[in-house]
């Protein structure tokens, strides 16, 4: 190739980089052969203690559920995972059809009309939903539950930052953990509200019936419901009680937790608003011979065409994780999903009643109904200390709901507890024993 180009060294192809801009060595060390890399990385990974070494009660937006081997087998097909965004639809019908099925599934689960082909994760999907609401409704304030996880609040604050929008927190009832609907009424009456987000289950794990009343209070103000997809196998589709947008985190369908990523942002809205919606969308059409075919569509909303007037800057999304989502749901089936949610809820109830019997622990902290997770509040000691004592007994007991940033306000030593599908009666009993020992130890040292 050098000869064809009439040069003797490849360095001659870099004469356009001025000398003053050149660098010396990077200083990243030498390369390694594959077996050595495998050994080195395995040594590093062995310093991790994977969830399988523990009785696992960690949940929240990221979950560690068993995924049938068929799911990873399909996701590992390199025709899928080594492909790019389907810019040439004729060559990419496979992925386009997968994404169309994925969109259709989120439409069925959410009860809305149109789903996009995925966003980065549930939190960024909520952020995009905030901006979407502002495009379809005037105002400067967005209402969010005070019970929303701190991470999601922080992400939403960042999405609100650019257009200088304000987040207003709606307090929750201290006994039930449910949204204070009177506070919503007051905020709406005060005006300037362009949207509201509520989550199902909420940040404490509870299913708040009041969410179904929000649309009646909000009227024309758009309602965003952030819903756990598994819960929607047994819960009413939010589109049926007035949600204008339904977002969610989809990682739990077929993907391992992978220390927090990749995740999957779900987004659905109504037909009349689709042209204001973010992200890529696949549509059905036909080819020159009249055969049904699929292509990315409504692209005039997008950054590569509309540039600074685009509805979002989304370019890369989470297509492969969307594939995992739809293959998981189809392998498990709607009945299997509902049964899984039922069994997780049963485990959560069993554990909550065992923990609730321990002096020094309030479990569940709130009275509203719940599915697979609930909040515990410690009356003595800190969440960090409690969880650390449990960990030493091989129990991952959940995670602290407190914002870890210095100076952040705290509302007690609260822990979100979510029995994973791998725990059974033995592990639940183990948690209860370890919890009793932990609070007793704190009591002695206090």
């Amino acid at each position: 190739m050098l000869e064809a180009l009439g040069i003797s060294s490849v360095e001659q192809l870099f004469t356009d980089v001025p000398k003053k801009a050149r660098i010396g060595r990077l200083g990243v060390g030498p390369g390694h052969e594959e077996p050595d890399v495998v050994r080195a990385v395995d040594q590093l990974l062995e310093r991790n203690k994977p969830l399988s070494k523990f009785a696992n009660f960690l949940g929240g937006r990221v979950s560690a559920r068993y995924s049938p081997a068929a799911v990873d087998s399909i996701v590992s097909r390199s025709e899928f995972y080594t492909s790019y965004t389907p810019y040439q639809p004729e060559a990419s019908q496979g992925m386009l059809r997968v994404l169309f099925e994925f969109q259709s599934l989120w439409v069925e689960l959410s009860g809305l009309d149109v789903a996009n082909a995925s966003l980065y994760d549930g939190a960024t999907a909520a952020g995009e939903a905030l901006l979407f609401c502002r495009r379809i409704h005037e105002g400067g304030k967005f209402l969010i539950p005070a019970s929303l996880p701190w991470e999601e609040k922080s992400v939403l604050q960042n999405y609100a930052m650019g257009p200088r929008l304000e987040l207003q927190e709606i307090p929750y009832d201290d006994r039930t953990g449910r949204l204070d609907l009177e506070a919503v009424r007051t905020a709406v009456a005060a005006g300037d509200v362009f949207g509201m987000l509520a989550d199902v289950p909420n940040g404490f794990g509870h299913v708040d019936e009041g969410v179904a009343e929000l649309k009646g209070i909000l009227g024309k103000i758009p309602l965003v419901v952030s819903a756990d997809p598994l819960s929607l196998s047994v819960l009413e589709a939010p589109g049926h009680y007035g949600a204008d947008v339904v977002v969610g985190e989809g990682q739990g369908f077929g993907m391992s937790p992978s220390f927090g990523g990749p995740l999957l942002g779900l987004f659905a809205c109504r037909h009349e608003h689709v042209r204001s919606s973010p992200g890529r969308i696949v549509g059905a059409t036909r080819d020159v011979d009249g055969r049904t075919a699929f292509a990315l569509t409504l692209q005039t909303r997008e950054q590569h065409i509309r540039r600074s007037r685009a509805t979002s800057n989304i370019c890369t999304n989470q297509s492969l994780i969307a594939l995992a989502f739809v293959v998981y749901a189809t392998t498990v089936g709607p009945r299997g999903l509902a049964e899984l949610q039922r069994s997780l809820a049963e485990k959560a109830r069993t554990l909550a009643s065992a923990l609730g019997a321990i002096d020094g622990i309030q479990a569940p902290r709130f009275d509203a109904p719940y599915l697979g997770e609930f909040t515990v509040e410690l009356k003595r000691g800190t969440a960090a200390e409690f969880l650390d004592r449990l960990r030493r007994r091989k129990v991952l007991g959940g995670y602290s709901l407190a914002d870890p940033r210095p100076g952040a306000s705290s509302s007690g030593e609260r822990i979100l507890v979510a029995p994973s599908d791998t725990v059974g009666p033995k592990e639940i009993a183990k948690y209860a024993r370890a919890a009793r020992t932990a609070v007793e130890a704190v009591g002695r040292s206090a």
Binding site: L5, L13, D16, V17, I23, L26, G27, V28, G31, H32, V37, V38, R47, N48, L51, V62, S78, E79, F80, Y84, Q88, E90, Q93, G94, M95, L99, F100, S104, V107, E108, V114, A115, A117, V155, P163, E209, S233, E236, P257, F259, G260, G261, G283, T285, T292, Q303, R306, R307, A310, T316, Q318, A329, P334, R335, R342, A345, L371, Y399, P404, P406
Partner: protein, 495 residues
């Protein structure tokens, strides 16, 4: 090369076993009636083999790097090493919850910490975060950092403008808008930033100049040091879009060029798979000025222990759940360990050699609008084809019939009928010559054949106008408009 893509007459998943009107899902104690789903989710119940066969057949109607070369410019579609797939599925990587205690995740934290250190070297910017979900997410977060920086200096109300060249990726202006800035495009001169135009555009309103170098025309912005001086002289910040970093690994870096903040796409330069559109993995790298504003948590090392550090008062906070796409970060780490200094140096040299060789050979058939010394990619114009009634779109479709992926088309917009071509370092000379031969056959084919392409794929030319005019975006839409659904017609004989 003779090529035929699989053409399965495969029904949609719901037509494999049409779901009946469902029974109610099981009742869960305590859940109020109003919140209960009355009918099971409308989705098919299938056996595992049916599911596997369905999605395997769909996979056979999809291009991927493992089967074809992907000449998409600015997408850097390089080989995704298999060893990374293996390691990312180890329990110590996959079976890890982001909120498990630090003490149980020391290996994961060290992977992140060490990759950040490597990327700090590669970018010449000392502070790195792996939190962004993808490149565009990093762009937006970087501009929020710029925003916070000017807020702290009391200049936020004044510095409202983001400048960018007309060659910028569409994500740049879209990210700037989302971060609350207005944008102003600067016309290029011979494919590069026009210094005079930049000088007259900068002012005390300038918050940031966003630049890709090499740019989307494949040209290295040789005036980069002057550009940095002009932008900094006006009190603005300089942003590096790392989409095209592959061309300059070990040659120069954003830090040396004078950039204050950068994003990288690990799914491009560091070979993590792009999965049909995502996941990606974004990186934010910043120098001293903007480093304190990076998202939390940062990962720090105390003695031999790694921990999350949330004590960053100037941080913009969180931009995403957890710490980024760890599964992809691990793959990028494997790529970096495998390559090392020499390997990374080789990547840029070979990528640039490939591009110049392709440019030389393919430039015989279509004009090259800019100078011929290019970096990782180059641009051709399909304008001469218009004389025979052929457009760049037809050429792209005809290339697909050769069993190769088409270049990026109609971008950059400053070139009429443009094709942007990039075949990265993992493509051999034999593959390049194969691509050139395919291109020759395509570009010299008759207008009739070019218009009729593609004919060797699962479907023929797709009516994208219809897709947008009568949007049918889900199974629900197909049910609502059954009359409009076309039944698959007879498969036309292959030519």
């Amino acid at each position: 090369m003779t090529f035929r893509q699989a053409r399965w007459d495969e029904p949609a998943v719901w037509d494999l076993a049409p779901p009946r009107a469902g029974d109610a899902p099981p009742e869960i104690p305590g859940i109020p009636d109003r919140m209960r789903r009355k009918e099971a989710v409308r989705w098919p119940e299938l056996g595992e083999l049916e599911v596997v066969r369905h999605y395997t057949r769909l996979s056979q109607m999809n291009f991927g790097i493992d089967t074809v070369p992907y000449a998409l410019g600015s997408c850097t579609m390089k080989y995704n090493p298999k060893v990374s797939e293996l390691l990312a599925r180890r329990p110590g990587a996959a079976d890890m919850h982001p909120y498990q205690p630090e003490a149980t995740a020391q290996g994961a934290l060290e992977v992140i910490w060490r990759l950040e250190k490597i990327l700090a070297r590669v970018t010449g910017l000392s502070e790195v975060s792996l939190q962004p979900g993808a490149g565009a997410h990093g762009e937006w977060a970087a501009l929020l950092m710029v925003r916070a920086y000017f807020r702290d200096r009391g200049e936020l109300d004044q510095r409202t403008e983001v400048l960018l060249p007309d060659t910028a990726h569409g994500t740049n202006p879209a990210s700037a808008m989302m971060a609350g800035f207005s944008t102003r495009e600067i016309a290029s001169k011979e494919g590069c930033v026009d210094l005079d135009a930049l000088r007259s555009a900068v002012s005390d309103k300038t918050a940031c100049f966003m630049l890709t170098n090499p740019n989307t025309a494949g040209l290295f912005e040789s005036d980069i040091l002057e550009i940095a001086e002009i932008v900094h002289g006006a009190g603005g910040t300089l942003y590096y879009d790392g989409a095209n970093l592959n061309a300059i690994l070990g040659v120069t870096h954003p830090g040396r060029m004078g950039f204050d903040v950068a994003h990288l796409n690990l799914h491009k330069t560091f070979a993590t798979p792009h999965g049909g559109g995502g996941p990606g993995a974004g990186v934010l790298a910043a120098g001293e000025k903007l480093g304190p504003y990076l998202p939390v948590p940062r990962i720090v090392k105390n003695g031999r222990k790694f921990r999350f550090d949330y004590d960053r008062p100037k941080s913009i906070g969180k931009i995403k759940t957890a710490y980024g796409n760890f599964g992809l970060d691990l793959r990028a780490f494997v790529f970096a360990l495998t390559h090392g200094e020499e390997g990374l140096n080789h990547v840029s040299r070979r990528a640039v050699l490939n591009s110049n060789y392709l440019g030389l050979k393919m430039g015989k058939y279509l004009p090259r609008p800019f100078r011929t010394l290019v970096k990782h990619e180059f641009v051709l114009s399909g304008v001469p084809l218009k004389a025979k009634g052929v457009r760049t779109l037809d050429l792209a479709k005809r290339l697909l019939d050769e069993g190769v992926h088409a270049p990026t088309i109609y971008f950059p917009a400053l070139v009429e009928e443009s094709l942007m071509i990039e075949l990265p370092e993992t493509e051999s000379k034999r593959e390049l010559d194969g691509y050139i031969a395919a291109f020759e056959r395509a570009v010299t084919d008759t207008p009739e054949n070019l218009h009729a392409a593609p004919r060797n794929l699962a479907v023929g030319r797709i009516d994208e106008v219809l897709a947008a005019r009568e949007p049918r975006l889900s199974w629900k839409d197909l049910r609502a408009h059954p009359a409009k659904v076309e039944t698959p017609g007879p498969v036309p004989p292959a030519p």
